[in-house]
């Protein structure tokens, strides 16, 4: 064997390593990944999602890793397969909604259906952000997918973005889940700014007990109305209501356990890793994702304000006043934003527990953001 042959062999080995194909931009992405892993592990911010998302960002930003491409035979590589079958086929968000439905008790919403209006009012930011995003030069479809971040509903954001602007899936999902995790930081100052001490002390009537029959009827009525008015969002809401019907029926406990346990956990892993893996350096390092993060925050703030103002407007016509602090829970982010309402309420009056009251608009927010997504899908898809 000659010296040149040995050198050729060595060169062949070096060419197949990541070091030879190194690009300095990926170091920035490692930083981004580390930040989200840090938020998940140290700060405990939405760890179930931010941890796999962070790792997805990290692992995909190495040269030559066979994860998001296609093999020579044309088969999708590992994470590409999760992404293709889970997200491109719109399966994972819907299955996660099935699990969420199986975990949700709609009692507070059924007991006080007026809170549904708060869930609609809290979608204000979605539409305001849409306008801002169009002004910034995004296409209408991209603007719709960015706007929905304010709805603070992860699966709905993923579902809508995948349908309308899949190129923004990574930044949008990351912004949505990050801001959902930061609800306890973002919402309280806005809540205090927009409400008076007197308003924060409003005590609400205790909720009436809700019968099992009502709870069983609720998913059927809701699924029927959504299917009639916003059919485009039935894959999401239909699964949500199926999960809830299974739970409330009380006859399929094994299925409920699977839906809210193993099935949802498996889907959460695939969702997190796939979303993270879409964020390669060449896609992420541009002005658009940074802009999305900036506008997402504004979106969240306007949605919070929208919910509070809706309560204030409702109070003009209601005999039994509603505490405007529960308005902020209309942004969805179940149950985090309802907990924030409870905590802010307790700060004003130590005996005023708002958690159950806030769960109403909180659940209405899930339906409201899905309805807003349905409006956008009907418009652009």
């Amino acid at each position: 064997m000659t010296f040149n042959e040995i050198m050729d062999m060595l060169r062949g080995i070096i060419y197949t390593t990541g070091i030879f194909n190194f690009d300095f931009r990926i170091v920035i992405m490692w930083g981004v990944a580390s930040f989200f892993i840090y938020l998940a592990i140290v700060k405990k911010f939405e760890p179930l999602l931010l941890l796999p998302i962070g790792f997805g960002i990290f692992i995909v930003n190495f040269p030559l890793v066979p994860l998001m491409g296609y093999s020579h035979q044309g088969y999708p590589e590992l994470i590409r397969a999760f992404y293709h079958y889970g997200l491109e086929w719109e399966i994972i968000p819907c299955v996660i909604f099935l699990g969420l439905g199986a975990m949700t008790d709609f009692g507070p919403l059924i007991a006080n259906p007026k809170t549904l209006i708060i869930g609609a009012g809290a979608q204000l930011g979605v539409f305001v952000t849409f306008t801002g995003t169009v002004l910034a030069g995004f296409t209408l479809k991209e603007a719709a997918s960015v706007g929905i971040i304010g709805g603070a509903d992860g699966p709905t954001t993923v579902y809508l973005t995948q349908l309308l602007a899949p190129q923004l899936l990574g930044p949008n999902a990351l912004a949505a889940y990050s801001y959902m995790a930061m609800v306890p930081i973002i919402q309280p100052p806005i809540m205090r700014l927009l409400t008076s001490e007197e308003e924060r002390k409003i005590r609400m009537k205790q909720l009436r007990p809700v019968s099992k029959k009502e709870k069983i009827l609720f998913p059927l009525i809701t699924a029927g109305i959504i299917a009639l008015l916003v059919p485009s969002v039935v894959p999401l809401m239909g699964m949500f209501m199926l999960g809830n019907l299974m739970k409330e029926s009380g006859v399929v406990n094994r299925l409920v356990e699977t839906a809210q346990g193993s099935l949802m956990n498996i889907c959460t892993i695939f969702l997190g890793v796939s979303v993270g893996a879409t964020m390669t350096a060449d896609r992420f390092l541009s002005w658009k994702p940074l802009f999305i993060f900036g506008l997402g925050l504004l979106d969240f703030a306007v949605c919070t304000a929208g919910g509070i103002f809706t309560v204030k407007i409702m109070n003009m016509f209601l005999k039994d006043k509603i505490n405007p602090l529960i308005g902020s829970a209309g942004v969805s982010a179940v149950p985090m934003s309802a907990r924030v309402s409870e905590l802010e309420g307790l700060k004003a009056d130590k005996r005023n527990h708002l958690l159950m009251h806030a769960m109403g608009p909180n659940l209405a927010g899930v339906i409201g953001s899905a309805a807003a997504a349905g409006m956008f899908i009907a418009m652009f898809h």
Binding site: I110, F127, S211, I225, I367, A371, M375
Partner: protein, 156 residues
């Protein structure tokens, strides 16, 4: 020499007329030989002696491969909409021929449309949840009444 120059200019002018006979409105070609009924900076309306299907084919060919274009088939017209960032917003090709031919309207992308549709859709979210509110209130009242009646029967 003068003659040559005049001939050349004439040729150029003729050639120009042939080569650039198509009129463009906001980057969209107006069907050749169409009669323009109305034109301002925001919209153009024209009529041509070609069937709806042929006009649609013409625009489909022109827009082929372009992103964010959506074609909606309405009862009385075909509506081509741009969801991207182009200067024009829509091309409406009417199905029924009016006396002089098929009517086509091209509209400019406008903020009035964007804001208008957004407000409508925001109201739409309220409509969905209000419908749900009415349905829940009604079903709640019906079920409560039934339960009360059953309880009073049992007590009796």
């Amino acid at each position: 020499m003068k003659k040559m120059l005049i001939i050349s200019i004439t040729f150029i002018l003729i050639f120009q007329n042939i080569g650039f006979s198509e009129i463009y409105f906001l980057g969209i070609p107006v069907i050749p030989n169409a009669r323009i009924i109305k034109k301002d900076t925001k919209r153009i309306e024209f009529v041509c002696n070609i069937s709806h299907d042929k006009i649609l084919q013409f625009y489909k060919k022109f827009l082929k491969g372009k992103k964010d274009i959506k074609i909606r088939e309405w009862k009385n017209a075909t509506y081509i909409e741009d969801d991207g960032n182009r200067k024009w917003h829509s091309i409406t090709i009417y199905r029924k021929s009016i006396q002089t031919g098929t009517l086509v309207i091209i509209k400019k992308d406008s903020w009035t449309w964007i804001i208008g549709t957004l407000i409508l859709r925001f109201v739409g979210v309220f409509v969905v949840l209000m419908t749900l509110l009415i349905a829940l209130s009604l079903s709640g009242k019906i079920i409560s009444a039934i339960v009360k009646r059953m309880e009073s029967k049992q007590e009796a």
